[in-house]
Symmetry: D2
Subunit: 146 residues, 4 copies
Amino acid sequence: MEENDTSASSVMFQRVSESFDKQALMKSIGASLVDVREGSVSIRCMFLDETKQQHGFAHAAVAFAIGDSAAGYSALTMMEPGHEVLTSEMKINLLSPAIGDYLMATGEVVKAGRKLIIVRATVVAVTDGQEKDVAILQGTMVPVTR
Amino acid sequence: MEENDTSASSVMFQRVSESFDKQALMKSIGASLVDVREGSVSIRCMFLDETKQQHGFAHAAVAFAIGDSAAGYSALTMMEPGHEVLTSEMKINLLSPAIGDYLMATGEVVKAGRKLIIVRATVVAVTDGQEKDVAILQGTMVPVTR
Amino acid sequence: MEENDTSASSVMFQRVSESFDKQALMKSIGASLVDVREGSVSIRCMFLDETKQQHGFAHAAVAFAIGDSAAGYSALTMMEPGHEVLTSEMKINLLSPAIGDYLMATGEVVKAGRKLIIVRATVVAVTDGQEKDVAILQGTMVPVTR
Amino acid sequence: MEENDTSASSVMFQRVSESFDKQALMKSIGASLVDVREGSVSIRCMFLDETKQQHGFAHAAVAFAIGDSAAGYSALTMMEPGHEVLTSEMKINLLSPAIGDYLMATGEVVKAGRKLIIVRATVVAVTDGQEKDVAILQGTMVPVTR
């Protein structure tokens, strides 16, 4: 059983990873895939000089990028092979400045419909192992055939 | 009169430009400030290999980044000197894939309150001079003292 | 030509009206259909004691109800007969208290896709013929077969 | 200790209840306050003929009304006496038709800032004791002095 679970999990990671690695933006902003489960994906992101805004924090678009991607890949884990997802709409509330050692975004599927997948994500900044909420996101993904 | 207008407009452009130039992310994604009016700002963005998603289009976060910034700077044009704005929340609906010669985001202030500025933005992709809607955004900016 | 236009317009009004009249909530909050055009619908709403919140203004849910319905019916005007629309998601920014002689919501279609219709709406309060912005909405409608 | 907790809890319920009872709309749609804790409030709502939409389900605005109110009162529980809250913006994703024995909305505070309180809410339909997700909301409340 465990072997199967591991195997299924490994296939899932590979599938998400293949898509993730094709996203040049993810690499450009210093993001990497850290965890892939059914209905939940986590993405870690470094603080790069290239992605700062005028106050020296990571730009809101970075929190958006990793939150949106974590949410989107969460949706992908619940879809048949041969499909991809696109963001239809996304709402982000910014809670505190994005500053610390690194950012971590975790997405989750709230409802996986046939035509629409409703998702949520949380982005935290981690400093010396302490988490601080940076942003929460809520949105809709649509499945597309590759 | 016209001279004054031009002068006021020039001061406004300079103010927004100073802040814009400090946003490393804007440069990293190939964005530049093209128009600054009272309550409305436009930002142009190139298509870079570094900002693509897995299908070869510009990542949704790019449309978010320039739409959010155009909206934020629109708010800034209506504030007293010595203030900056931060995004409190932003909602984006994606209308079509971001592909073409370049992207253009135009932000506008819907209501400039003392504590909250409600904003909107539109992002279009321009191909051979033809515009296609890529995204619309609606959100809230908060003034902060530098 | 004009006769045809009038006729088409009249058919469109009738179609929206038929659905609108089945919405008990619209009647309960004092809302009525005032204008139906292709891609744009307006709904007027009285201020009733029954729909007030604790400060004596109309409850935010009233602005939501008529803004969402105006947006939804705007979408309906662009669909084939035999379809209805449901709200998939809606974002509302509240701009000022809902108080005055009456409220007026105007919805419009931003993009009519086959699976998703992106819409916007504005809600104003009218006092002595003067309009004041009360709310703006941005969201997604999905077509359903009756 | 427990006595104090109960007492504090009872004061909190009374405070929220006083405001809730002034909201005519809540009564009109059949909503009642069922639970008040620090940072979390639940509202129950009957299915009334008066609040239906054209398919016989409760109108999306009903889910919005109770979700928004549950979220707003959650914010109120974390504020100094003498304050009220107003919704600044709210985003709702509708997950399934609102039908069943009754609706239950539960709001929670995600971040209580001095100027802005970020909130979330979930609305479920309960049928024979079984819950089904109807809607999720994410938004911003602003404190106002009475």
